[in-house]
Amino acid sequence: MTALISVPARAAGRVPADRLAGFGPLFRKELREWAHSKRIWVILATTTAFMVLTTANGALTSWLVANIPDAEAPNGPIVLDPLVNFFSAVSTQIFVVVAIFAAMSLLIGERDKGTLSWVASKPVSRASIWLSKWAAASIVVSIVAGIIPMVVTYGVATVLYGPVGIDALAFAAVGVIASITFMVAVVLAASVAVANQAAVAAIGFVVFFFPQLVASLLPVDISPVLPSSILNWAISPVVGAAMGIATPIAWMVSVIALVGFATWRMERLEF
């Protein structure tokens, strides 16, 4: 009679903690993939152009009114304050829209193509797959859709209107990075809950704009407890507004909840 018994397990040696197994290589792979992608240049060009033109709007309007006789003057006064014009570009939050579009295909695209299941069959944790995408996308989008366009815009505002305090740039940078990190988390968390990119983008836009819309209609100001108010919170010292702790707490709780939900869902994904 033939007996079949299991092969003894091999000595595993030193292995990384299973909860974050594979995070380092996956994170490096994500950064390399961004570096190979053309969209990084598209994001940089469109965001920078949009923010620079928004900042230059006051100077352009002023020049047009002064130099073209038939040019129609705006209804209100033309504002040429350096800080106001710099923040007018930042407050468009174009980087949030860009973050939604940039992140919406990261997981679903890989899932549709089949590379996600390939990676998931390797000795990596599902949490590492999600966290590496979130970390890499947050860093890259923050740099190419946030920091670089904002620094260029800061320079343009300084040239056109005069010096802008460096604190404005520093506080705005904190807010931009926090906003992008939050929105990338929203989009990637949505990607493990729904199966197509349009739905993911729709969830991203709803999460960002709908609470602000509701807040504007309510008699009570709820915007300080919205995580999407993090940019306004960050620049509040520069504009002389009170800097409460409700917004960063709301932001942090939301991000932790999104990460918790997404990693929980990732573990349950079937391929």
């Binding site: 009679m1 033939t2 007996a3 079949l4 018994i5 299991s6 092969v7 003894p8 397990a9 091999r10 595993a12 040696g13 030193r14 292995v15 990384p16 299973d18 197994a21 594979g22 380092g24 290589p25 996956l26 490096r28 792979k29 993939e33 190979h36 193509k113 089949g114 590379t115 299941s117 390939w118 998931a120 069959s121 390797k122 000795p123 990596v124 944790s125 079937e270 391929f271």
Partner: protein
């Protein structure tokens, strides 16, 4: 005799909404074997391999590789190399970069460095194309890169889902030769519906249909077991009564006329297990007594295709 089992499945069941993909699959795969997992489309082969690769969870039952349960996550997947039916890689990576990325996920392979990557690329015949982007690879090259990336972590088991079904004859031969070379070095568990390949390469075979295991056995044993229950008989001077007479011999299950002529009549005689020799003798005696000449009276060797079709059609559950 004790044989180590590289893969062990017990009562593996997978239910999707409206579909019972696997039902109570229990199977042990001997270590070092090349194990063919056969079945028609929809039999549950890919589901089984996905469960073993840790990509989908069984509804019930358990599975382990090298004694490590599939639920162990990354620790389990270090023991498994997986090749999907249509392998997909990052198009922007070269073959070498693909292997370097996969190796970085296995601590031992990562430490071994580029020498191991070059050795594996050479082994699968991709050394010359190693620095080309995978987007430019042909189907056969992708499949070989798939085997290379499955091997790079030195797993205990290779799980290959239909590794040759989408390839042309040359690509198919290359991949089958590669699988054959792996015999004894790593356990290869692969699914296919190409019966010729199983007969050529596998030393064990399991047949699945409708999510249920129909039969599992060493390939040679399976074929020989079916070879013992069918006789080809050719008799000169036979008449219409001959087949009736053969059918009445104890141990004969059925007699089917086969190709023949008026002078030489052929029959396929199906006999009960173990009755082959006795029936052969009885036929010879009958012919001699009736002045007929027996020109052929031998056991028929069935191909795997015949065995497969017979098992699937009759659902002879004998696992």
């Amino acid at each position: 005799m004790t044989i180590y089992s590289a893969i062990s499945m017990t009562g593996l069941t997978k239910h999707y909404p409206g579909v019972q993909a696997l039902t109570e699959l229990s199977l042990d795969v001997p270590a070092g074997s090349i194990y063919g997992f056969l079945g028609p489309n929809g039999a549950g082969k890919s589901t089984t391999i996905k469960v073993l690769a840790g990509l989908t969870r069984p509804t019930r039952g358990s599975a382990s590789v090298a004694g490590i349960p599939v639920v162990a996550g990354p620790g389990y997947r270090r023991e498994v190399g997986y090749l999907a039916q249509e392998p997909q890689f990052y198009d922007w990576m070269t073959g070498r970069e693909t292997l370097r990325f996969v190796a970085s996920l296995y601590p031992a392979a990562d430490r071994a460095g580029d020498d191991r990557i070059t050795a594996v690329l050479t082994r699968v015949g991709l050394a010359d194309a190693a620095d080309r982007r995978t987007a430019t690879y042909s189907g056969g090259m992708r499949q070989r890169l798939g085997i290379a990336q499955a091997l790079i972590g030195s797993p205990a088991v290779l799980l290959l889902d239909e590794p040759v079904s989408a390839l042309d004859p040359i690509g198919r031969r290359e991949v089958l030769d590669l699988m054959r070379e792996l015999r004894g070095e790593v356990t290869v568990f692969y699914s296919t519906h190409i019966l010729d390949d199983v007969e050529r390469v596998s030393d064990h075979v399991a047949i699945l249909d409708g999510g249920r295991l129909i039969r599992s056995a060493p390939t040679a044993e399976l074929l020989s077991s079916f070879a013992q229950d069918q006789l080809r008989v050719v008799i000169g001077g036979a008449d219409d009564g001959t087949s009736v007479a053969i059918a009445s011999i104890p141990g004969v299950i059925s007699v089917e006329p086969a190709e023949g002529s008026a002078d030489l009549r052929s029959y396929l005689v199906r006999v009960a297990p173990g009755a082959g020799a006795a029936v052969q003798g009885a036929i010879t005696r009958f012919a001699a007594e009736h002045g007929q000449i027996v020109t052929e009276n031998h056991l028929v060797r069935l191909g795997l295709e015949d065995v497969f079709l017979r098992l699937v059609n009759t659902k002879e559950h004998a696992a």
